[in-house]
């Protein structure tokens, strides 16, 4: 899928959770949202991108969330 679009969508999610006063809450919020609403191939592609490009252009908060909760984002099929 269009990586640019996926990054944009992920960053949008990040900007919502950014306002949370507690960062832990924000990180789990972002990861959980991706888990609940992103189809596995979208998540896989995002994870691959993070690994390959070191999360370039991804909002730092989102990146932290992905890294902190990577296991939530891995497709169960892959897992």
């Amino acid at each position: 899928m269009d990586m640019h679009n996926l990054i944009h969508m992920a960053n949008q999610i990040g900007s919502f959770f950014e306002a949370m006063p507690e960062q832990d809450e924000a990180l789990i919020g972002i990861a959980s949202h991706l888990q609940h609403f992103w189809e596995p191939r979208m998540r896989s592609q995002l994870l691959e991108y993070v690994d390959a490009q070191n999360g370039k252009d991804i909002d730092p908060l989102v990146l932290s969330a992905i890294r902190a909760h990577r296991n939530m984002l891995v497709s169960q099929k892959q897992a």
């Binding site: 899928m1 269009d2 679009n5 944009h8 969508m9 949008q12 999610i13 900007s15 919502f16 950014e18 306002a19 949370m20 006063p21 949202h33 888990q35 609940h36 609403f37 992103w38 189809e39 596995p40 191939r41 979208m42 497709s75 169960q76 099929k77």
Partner: protein
């Protein structure tokens, strides 16, 4: 009725949603059901440049099933999916998602509610615990203050608008938050006490500044909050909205609305008695659509305006069965009753009932399907009653995606825009030809009753059953009532619903179960569905769709009274006499600056594309904002709109597109291409020949890779 011919359609005095009233569409515009454009024979073709071939139902269904199987074999189980329209019945929607989850074996099912009210589902679920409006329409009779946000009820929800006006005439106060000077702002005997003409895309800023006034001026319903809401979340929210950056004064530059107006409206909402919020797609169809919905729920909780008559949070829906299509599980992440597919208890319940294994992870949402199609991983689609080409944003993107797919099965009553990209056409049935139920914005389930036999032999639900069968999954229903029985059995909020009860009561507002055997007109009375109400921080984030020197105006789109959605139905009635084409409304100042005259042709272009419409110079607009509708395919309003979408649900940002508008002399390139393409497709349809009996047609399995537009 005269035999099986409709003589006239009249609103039912006992209709609990409309109480004997109707609008021009429901009352008169039903002639499309028997329009000569109806396609009554199944058709197939190998590629979209081939002529259509009329075939038997068997042949068409066999072909579709074989194609789907072939695609899945080649590209994987997740390479096909289904889309069902919110115009279809609950039973049809339920069967489509069941088809996808059983016969297709994945969760790639979505509904057109995706592109209108998905943020409502998300936002209200997060805050209040249920993805639905809180009130019954009748409740407005008890409102003292009515706040209308991003909705134009007199055009888009005329029957409810009349009830709202009735209440306004009897003294309720009115706050309108809308970029446009809509009729409710001022029309005979109606005058908004406050009109906050905000800039498109700044709803969240506006809602936060209203909340700021309520919090900082001591207008909170403290007892209600203490008893009914999560304390910690409330405190976090309160501290957030109280920040100076959320004050109306600070937000003034963003929203464009004078702070004093905002303060006045906030005070009225918080202290004017029973205050109800009604909102529409002007709230949801934004990059921050879900955030705005949560912001609205926050306001209602903060002022205690929830859980009784005359108050609440009330989404005005986009189509007749938007609520229903969401309720019955046609979202890729949810099973019926808004239960996430990852919830194993629910999954097991359905697995037992359906006898298949259900995937525990969400499927593709409509925009994701397009992306995946262009990516080569999503190649087949069953599309029931939905015209994604016309209704979804960034038309070129959509048509490119469709062109990339190998088998598109469209089921519709007309050869719609999407069907021009289809390989299999299955004739649909109009609401007059089938039994079923619709669920409206007030969670009211009402019966659709067959008044004439399906013109193409099968009702839509039967076609889905037949397709499932071809795909190797047996569905066994003698009547749609049995489908509803199954929904009721498997969905706690529907446990008490049956056709028998619907016949008895006329209609039922869910939840309807042992606790509420007669249904639930008002929700969240003693406690929220999620237990305690949850305030959620809603930070304003400007959309990426910003005005620039190149695109200095903002386009916002909407509807008009006489036309319905993509217009497939209403364009085929005399309703065109009121609205023959989509037009671009523009403020006199902007028109003057560009040398645009009333009625002249104007080109509108955005970073997505360009189209040409006639201009209407109108003071309903604020300077800097232009407006059009999307009822006519040749207008191509969605050629302009971008694939920007709501962060949470991917609901497209139809309401904000940066554009430039200039006088032009001829139609746009897209329109020229569109005209050529339509002409070709028309010819392919006109030349549709009889199929070759049982012989599989000579179909080359080859993706048509190039986008037409």
């Amino acid at each position: 009725m005269k035999g099986s011919e409709v003589v006239r359609m009249v609103p039912d005095k006992n209709g609990q949603a409309n109480e004997g009233h109707s609008c021009v569409k429901g009352r008169f515009a039903w002639g499309y059901a028997t329009h000569k454009d109806r396609i009554l024979k199944p058709m197939i073709r190998g590629k979209i440049t081939d002529p259509w071939k009329e075939v038997s139902w068997d042949e068409a269904l066999d072909y579709a099933a074989a194609e789907f199987r072939r695609i899945q074999k080649k590209y994987g189980r997740d390479s096909i999916g289904g889309i069902v329209s919110s115009r279809c019945t609950n039973e049809e929607g339920y069967l489509v998602q069941k088809l996808v989850r059983t016969a297709f074996g994945n969760n790639n099912v979505d509904t057109c509610a995706r592109v209108c009210h998905s943020p409502t589902g998300y936002g209200l679920k997060q805050t209040l615990g249920e993805s639905a409006g809180t009130q019954t329409f009748k409740s407005v009779e008890h409102s003292d203050v009515i706040m209308v946000i991003g909705a134009n009820p007199t055009d888009a929800h005329p029957v409810f608008a009349s009830r709202m006006k009735k209440r306004l005439l009897n003294g309720a106060k009115l706050i309108v938050i809308d970029p446009r000077h809509i009729d409710l702002v001022r029309s005979p005997h109606v005058r908004a006490d406050f009109h906050l003409p905000l800039k498109p895309g700044t709803n969240v800023a506006m809602l936060s500044s209203i909340a700021h006034v309520i919090v900082t001026e001591g207008l909170l319903a403290t007892d209600f909050i203490a008893q009914r809401c999560e304390d910690k979340a409330f405190q976090q929210w309160r501290d957030f909205v109280a920040l100076p950056e959320n004050s109306p004064e600070a937000m003034q530059e963003i929203t464009g609305v004078p702070a004093e107006l905002v303060r006045g409206a906030a005070r009225l909402y918080a202290t004017g008695g029973n205050a109800a919020i009604y909102y529409g797609l002007g709230v949801t169809e934004h990059a921050q659509g879900s955030t705005a919905v949560m912001g609205i729920a926050n306001l209602a909780m903060a002022t205690g305006n929830i859980g009784r008559e005359g108050v609440g949070v009330n989404p005005l829906r986009g189509q007749n069965n938007v609520q229903g299509s969401c309720d019955i599980g046609s979202f890729p992440h949810e099973l019926p009753g808004y239960r996430h597919v990852s919830d194993s208890t629910t999954r097991h319940l359905f697995e037992q009932a359906w006898g298949v294994e259900i995937q525990p992870e969400p499927g593709l949402r409509i925009p994701n399907m397009f992306d995946a199609a262009l990516d080569g991983s999503f190649m087949g689609m069953y599309c029931q009653g939905e015209d994604i080409v016309q209704s979804d944003p960034n038309t070129q993107h959509v048509t490119a995606a469709l062109s990339a797919m190998e088998c598109i099965v469209v089921q519709d009553i007309f050869m719609n825009e999407t069907a021009m990209y289809a390989h299999v056409f299955l004739p649909g049935s109009s609401f007059l030809e089938k039994d079923g139920t619709f669920t409206n914005a007030e969670r009211r389930i009402s019966r659709v009753r067959k008044v004439m036999p399906p013109k193409a032999v099968y009702a839509d639900w039967e076609v889905t059953v037949l397709l499932a069968q071809r795909m190797g999954y047996t569905m066994d229903y003698a009547h749609p009532s049995e489908i509803m029985d199954e929904i009721a059995r498997l969905t706690p909020t529907f446990h008490g619903v049956s056709y028998e009860k619907l016949d008895q009561l006329g209609s039922i507002q869910w939840p309807c179960n042992d606790e509420a055997p007669l249904g639930t007109p008002t929700m969240h009375i003693d406690h929220f569905v999620r237990g305690k109400g949850k305030f959620i921080i809603t930070k304003y984030v400007a959309t990426d769709e910003k005005v620039t020197r190149k695109f200095p105006l903002i386009l916002t789109t909407g509807r008009i009274l006489s036309q319905y959605n993509v217009g497939a139905q209403t364009r085929r009635t005399e309703n065109v006499q009121w609205h023959q084409q989509d037009i671009l409304e523009i403020h006199p100042h902007d028109a003057e600056e560009r040398g645009i005259r009333d009625g002249g042709w104007v080109g509108i272009h955005s970073r997505s594309g360009e189209t040409v419409l006639r201009a209407k110079v109108s003071e309903r607009m604020q300077p800097g904002v232009v407006y059009t509708t999307f009822h006519f395919p040749e207008s191509g309003a969605n050629v302009i709109t971008t694939e920007n979408s709501d962060w949470a649900t991917n609901c497209p940002e139809y309401k904000v597109t940066a554009v430039q508008v200039m006088p032009v002399l001829e139609s746009s390139d897209w329109q020229k291409k569109y005209t050529r393409f339509s002409k070709v497709q028309d010819d392919l349809l006109k030349n549709a020949g009889e199929g070759t009996g049982n012989k599989t047609p000579d179909i080359k399995i080859k993706a048509v890779a190039k986008s037409i537009a």
